[in-house]
């Protein structure tokens, strides 16, 4: 080991590097100001706002049906789940009961969205670490989900299928069969993903013991989603505060305790299996019922504050609506999962190398529009 006096003589300076906003590994327009000493990172300061569209201010001017359309663009990989969050808040405020059919369909579509998001995450994680083939494997399978969505909801990315009171239209007649075909196909492909990346020695060395987040830090920093569950913090909103049809399906909450990048990776891989299990339990027994509960054309929430939490692919999304009785909300706040997850990045990146930072960011699965809103 080098003694202190030698270190004083060979003085190295810290220097300052920008990672992003245009960067092949940034998951959107995120600018990180890194202060590094050689390869070791001393400080990470995120600089946000490159895709800030003031969604919360726009919501104060729009009607409740219009707010739903703004939420797709936040975390665009879980767009259905974001829409569901706002619809559930409005329905909770109006004390509106939606039919079982709507609940079951909402759950199936949310789980398909979660699968698509995790597939893209897997492809991008491999790509960030250098295994460029994973990207193509993931997108090949994700196209099947996009096709299902296109047929039923009309769009591939920003679905707008949920509205306050129910769904925009009924599911397409092919929906059930295509979803079952996709599940059967993907069950044979997911072990392929494991063979390509999970068991690989180089991958394990890049991710085990890297970016360790303890459970206390996870709770204190407000981390949620697979990142928190990789550290042992049981934060699955679907289990602890169930909504839609989650109280009638059986699924496991995946928890690992090591808190490193590898356990976050394993959480998401296992979550894909659980999502498929949930869909299988629901897809054959979609109950009959109304697609839309009747609401007035101009929705006015009674005066008060309403909060609804859902579990997106990234973590816990919270929607807080403060209404003063008018047709526009007084204040809307979206508690975005990525924002809290990002705040922990500086804490766990002190003293690691740049390559470890890339691996950690890949395992956190940021979508920057979700952070910037």
């Amino acid at each position: 080991m080098i003694s202190q006096e030698v270190k004083n003589k060979i003085k190295t300076e810290e220097y300052f590097i920008n990672m992003g906003p245009q960067h092949p590994a940034a998951h959107g327009v995120l600018r990180l100001l890194l202060t590094i000493d050689g390869e070791i990172i001393k400080n990470v300061e995120p600089d946000l706002g490159y895709i800030h569209r003031s969604i919360e201010k726009m919501c104060e001017r729009d009607s409740y049906q219009q707010i739903v359309h703004l939420t797709d663009r936040m975390d665009y990989l879980s767009s259905n789940i974001n829409n569901e969050a706002v619809c559930l808040t409005v329905e909770k405020a109006l004390e509106l009961e939606v039919s079982d059919r709507v609940k079951v369909i909402r759950t199936i579509i949310a789980e398909l969205t979660r699968l698509a998001s995790h597939q893209l995450w897997w492809g991008v994680m491999g790509m960030d670490l250098g295994a460029l083939t994973t990207y193509f494997y993931a997108f090949r399978d994700r196209e099947m989900i996009n096709d299902i969505f296109e047929e039923t909801c009309g769009a591939r990315l920003t679905m707008n299928y949920n509205i306050p009171g129910g769904l925009m239209f009924d599911i397409h007649p092919n929906f059930v069969q295509r979803t079952k075909d996709f599940i059967a196909h993907f069950k044979t492909k997911l072990p392929e993903y494991d063979r390509l990346l999970t068991g690989n020695v180089i991958f394990e060395k890049r991710t085990k013991g890297v970016g360790i987040l303890t459970k206390e830090d996870a709770i204190s920093f407000g981390v949620s989603g697979p990142v928190a569950r990789g550290s042992g913090f049981a934060s699955d909103v679907r289990k602890h505060h169930p909504y839609s049809a989650y109280d009638r399906v059986a699924f496991k909450e995946i928890l690992f305790t090591e808190g490193d990048t590898y356990s976050r990776y394993k959480v998401r891989m296992a979550e894909m299996w659980e999502s498929m299990a949930i869909i299988e339990q629901l897809i054959d027994n979609i109950p009959e019922g109304d697609i839309q509960a009747p609401t007035k054309a101009v929705i006015k929430l009674p005066k008060g504050e309403y909060y609804q939490r859902v579990e997106t692919a990234r973590g816990e999304l919270g929607v807080y609506i403060n209404s003063d009785g008018n047709k526009n909300p007084y204040r809307v706040k979206f508690r975005s999962p990525g924002f809290s997850n990002l705040s922990v990045l500086n804490h766990i990146s002190k003293g690691v190398k740049i390559a470890d930072l890339v691996a950690t960011m890949a395992s956190f699965d940021f979508v920057i529009p979700d952070i910037d809103r």
Binding site: Y15, I17, H23, P24, A25, E39, G126, M127, D128, L129, G130, A131, L132, T133, Y135, F136, Y137, R140, L196, L197, N200, I202, F203, K205, R206, K353, I354, A355, D356, V358
Partner: protein, 359 residues
Amino acid sequence: MNVLIINMQLNITRAIHDWLFSVMPEGAATITEWVLIAVAYLALFAVAGLYLVLLERKVAAWFQLRLGPNRVGPWGLFQTMADALKLVSKELTSTDRIDKFLYNLAPYFVIVTSLTAIAVFPFSEQFQAFDINIGVFFLFAISSIGVIGILLAGWASNNKFALIGAMRSGLQTISYELSVGLSLLTMVLLTGSLQLSEIVEVQRTGGWLILQGHIPAIIAFCIFIIAGTAETNRAPFDLVEAESELGAGFHTEYSGMKFAYFFLAEFINMFIIASIAVVLFFGAWLSPFGITEGITWFPEVLWFLIKVLIIIFLMMWFRWTFPRLRVDQLLTLEWKYLLPLNLINLVIMAIVIWMKWTI
């Protein structure tokens, strides 16, 4: 001048040789001969480099379940020609504060050393440009010079990312040169000569060196492939140009023809590593079990190409499957695992030869 033994027994080359010597005085004829051979090699291997790029793209597409380039020419055969034309016609941009001389000099180091190294390979019995008696040593020395070009490129670009990439590349190359050299040395123990045509001669009479040396030779081959992949900065050791981390590494600031030099040099280096492996382990242009020995019209260079292409395919397979190693894991691999293994292997090979346990 007597070091230069140009093997020319093909009729065409003999005809040209005789004609040149009849037309011009001896000195001028020799020089013209050298220039002709150099130009022929340059043309041949620049084009070969381009086709290696196309091969890489096709192989990558095959691994990634898609078709590669297939529009420009049948099976996309003219794709890299089109790319080369594009690169040649691009504007040579550069930033304001670069170190102009070093910036312009750097690509030449890389491309010149790559092309020089090709001159010594015995592609077939008659097809070898430069058969010197320190063949292996020459190859090794020339490929070490290439790293200077990379360091110069990174420094002169006046760009922090390029500098990080160049520094990483520098330490990676000098570390893995040791492994490359030692594994080659293990095989030279078997042949007793550094001259490449002698090495092939030993293999013709005794069988391929990898079979002659059995266990230590196989270990040496494995180490050589790993270290060779690292020497050429290819995945899984491509943190030098780690696209997801640093933009484009040391050649971020280059465009046009200069970028083409770096790019082409990477593929020609891959060809060189594969060729060294083929010459020293797999018997260069010799056919397996001597099946085409008797057939005089069979071009032996075809066997050389087939073996080289198999090894290049192996290197491409590595690239598209494995994730990338971190820089400290790379160095740990070399200094703590490969180097001791190499030294032990060298001793084992020496014992095997001494005890006459070779096949």
